[in-house]
């Protein structure tokens, strides 16, 4: 049995994986078999059996833990001593945590704002050009690269000695007659936070571009033609026709990317680990919960994320329904 729980070699790991899949197949087969057993299974019976595995997992893995975390956020380090609002007070008064909150706000605003603008501009510019497919792929590809991969790519650009950014910096300074060495980009607050945010923008712009490009292509041809005949130039067309027509898609993109920005963990973790004033809530949660063993504070940070994300999601849902009604 130890192979299944703690496989060591690659082959053992694959055996364990195949066993898990087999076990799962058996469970599903049993569910289907039981459902099929009676001559006429009532509809609610089918629903019960089909929903049971999912609902059990959701209760165990999402609902119950959320309640426990909510409770923990009012308890101390190890979750045994009630401390009232102390964890929250600490987050909102301690300057280090205020910095974390400020950074999170920057992430949640700048990432959706800039990546949507870049995505939109690019979608409009390459629309109906000869290289459209290829051009879109270039922007789209970072979405497949993991955030860890993206972090490494950009950490290389920001490298003080051999990075492209440093080289450009030195070269521009030389143009103006100065001889300088590049700074330690990622150690310089507050610039470093913006450099990290740019990595996220780099990833999310492809998403914004794709969704908005599809929306742009959905604008009826005769409207575009009419606006052209009315003498609107490219810029006016963009402002008075394109933007209003794709407004619902823009809102969906902005809110979705805002959520991603709020939860961003991988980039901060990999590039600076939250040092040099770059931490955000998602990273601070990890640091407090898993490194400082401060369950209460970690729980309060997690609850805070939850509270911030709710209005964004609700707004998104309303907007999505509105746009679906329009279609």
């Amino acid at each position: 049995m130890d192979i299944l729980l703690h496989p060591e070699s690659g082959v053992q790991k694959i055996v364990a994986m195949l066993f898990a899949i087999l076990l799962f197949v058996v469970v599903v087969a049993v569910v289907l078999f039981i459902t099929n057993l009676p001559k006429r299974m009532p509809s609610w019976g089918v629903a019960l059996l089909f929903l049971l595995p999912s609902l059990a997992l959701i209760c165990f893995g999402l609902i119950y833990p959320s309640i426990v975390t909510f409770r923990n956020s009012f308890y101390g380090r190890d979750g045994t001593q009630g401390v009232g609002w102390a964890n929250y007070v600490q987050i909102f008064t301690n300057p280090d945590f205020l910095r974390v909150l400020l950074n999170t706000v920057l992430w949640t605003i700048l990432v959706p704002l800039v990546s949507t603008i870049v995505g939109l501009v690019y979608a409009v510019l390459v629309d109906r050009t000869r290289y459209e497919k290829f051009a879109k792929m270039l922007i789209f590809l970072p979405m497949a690269i993991s955030m860890v991969g993206a972090s490494i790519i950009w950490k290389f650009v920001y490298d003080q000695r051999v990075g492209l950014l440093s080289a450009v910096y030195v070269w521009v300074a030389k143009l103006f007659g100065h001889t300088v060495t590049a700074p330690q980009w990622l150690m310089n607050a507050p610039l470093n936070t913006f450099l990290l945010i740019f990595v996220m923008i780099w990833i999310e712009a492809g998403y914004a571009m794709t969704v908005l490009s599809t929306a742009i292509k959905g604008i009826p041809e005769d409207l575009v033609e009419a606006s052209r005949l009315d003498g609107l130039n490219g810029w006016q067309q963009f402002i008075y026709l394109t933007i209003p027509m794709i407004r619902p898609s823009i809102v969906v993109v902005v809110t979705t990317v805002a959520m991603a920005g709020l939860k961003s963990f991988d980039i901060v973790r990999t590039m600076t680990a939250g040092n040099y004033d770059t931490s955000v809530i998602a990273n601070e949660f990890y640091t407090q919960s898993f490194q400082n063993q401060n369950t209460g504070l970690g729980a309060a940070l997690a609850v805070l994320m939850f509270i911030i994300v709710i209005p964004v999601v609700v707004f998104n849902i309303f907007q999505l329904r509105k746009s679906q009604d329009v279609r």
Partner: protein, 300 residues
């Protein structure tokens, strides 16, 4: 009269043409700048991953190696180093596969069953239950982590693949159910009802009618779940124990950045080994990926 109108249109067209000509150099320039900014960083690291001279990597920019006189420097030595016994990225690569395959299969299958129940069965409280499942997408993974970890430790299965499979299944379920349900509702009602009139039970309908029609939807969600699980760092760090036994490539790479932050001869090939699989999946199945994205399948 008609000739005059024609002329006007022609003049107007010419006007538009000049305007387009005026704006197009700027448009072209901006799009090229964006494309370059989005591509060159990756190219730079890729070039670096093939540079064999470690001294040169840490003292000169990657672009200098593109001069023809430096071409002899390129080779696979860095890849051999990171895959070799010292850094052993190969075994982390296996971990990534072992984590990802069930992490995609299991939630999708369970979600298909649940989506069928929500789409084609009648039972009291159906709508409320569906809204609850949908709303659970809001819960950030962070909120659930410590209680789950406590439970896993109690059961003695922490730091095993089982925990990762379980977590990726749980975290993927709400979105999977929501999205597959939306696709499933697009199946014509008559098709399902006709089959039932012919005496087919729900299991037959599910297996023989609904499943085949769901293949494109399953494909689009599968790519999302694949990318999400393969590229995950948070769940892996929290539950996998960051050891060669269970940690995926992302965790190992993140670790290497921390401990060997400027060893680009290691980080560059490492990053590309971790990237190759999702990028291939992405390139081959792009069509489905875009479809899933437009259906709102984006995990925050």
């Amino acid at each position: 009269m008609s000739e005059k109108k024609k002329k006007l249109t022609r003049r107007e067209k010419a006007l538009i043409r000049t305007k387009n000509k005026l704006s197009s150099p700027w448009a072209t320039a901006i799009s090229i700048i964006i494309a370059a900014l989005w591509t060159i960083p990756t190219v730079g690291l890729l070039v670096t991953s093939f540079r064999q001279n470690r001294m040169a990597i840490s003292t000169s920019g990657w672009w200098t190696s593109l001069l023809p006189k430096n071409w002899s420097d390129f080779g696979l030595a860095n890849y051999k180093t990171v895959l070799g016994s010292g850094y052993n990225l190969g075994s982390y690569l296996i971990n990534s596969f072992v984590i990802t395959i069930p992490g995609v299969l299991i939630p999708i299958t369970l979600a298909l069953l649940a989506a069928y129940a929500f789409a084609w069965c009648d039972f009291p409280g159906k709508n409320i239950l569906f809204v609850i499942v949908f709303a659970l997408q809001v819960v950030p993974v962070q909120v659930t982590m410590i209680p789950l970890l406590t439970q896993y430790v109690k059961w003695g299965i922490n730091n095993t693949f089982w925990v990762l499979w379980l977590c990726h299944t749980i975290f993927g379920l709400p979105l999977a159910i929501f999205m597959l349900h939306n696709f499933m509702c697009d199946i014509p009602r008559e098709l399902v009802e006709a089959a039932k009139v012919d005496g087919a039970g729900d299991v037959q309908v599910f297996l023989k009618i609904v499943l085949p029609l769901m293949v494109p939807a399953v494909a689009s969600f599968a790519i999302f779940q694949f990318l999400w699980v393969w590229n995950d760092l948070l769940v892996a760090l929290a539950f996998a124990g960051n050891t060669p036994a269970t940690a995926p490539l992302t965790a190992r790479l993140s670790d290497m950045v921390g401990s060997r932050g400027s060893a680009w001869y290691l980080l560059a090939p490492g990053a590309f080994i971790a990237m190759i699989v999702p990028v291939l999946v992405f390139l081959f199945l792009q069509r489905y990926f875009v479809r899933g994205m437009l259906a709102g399948a984006v995990k925050g």
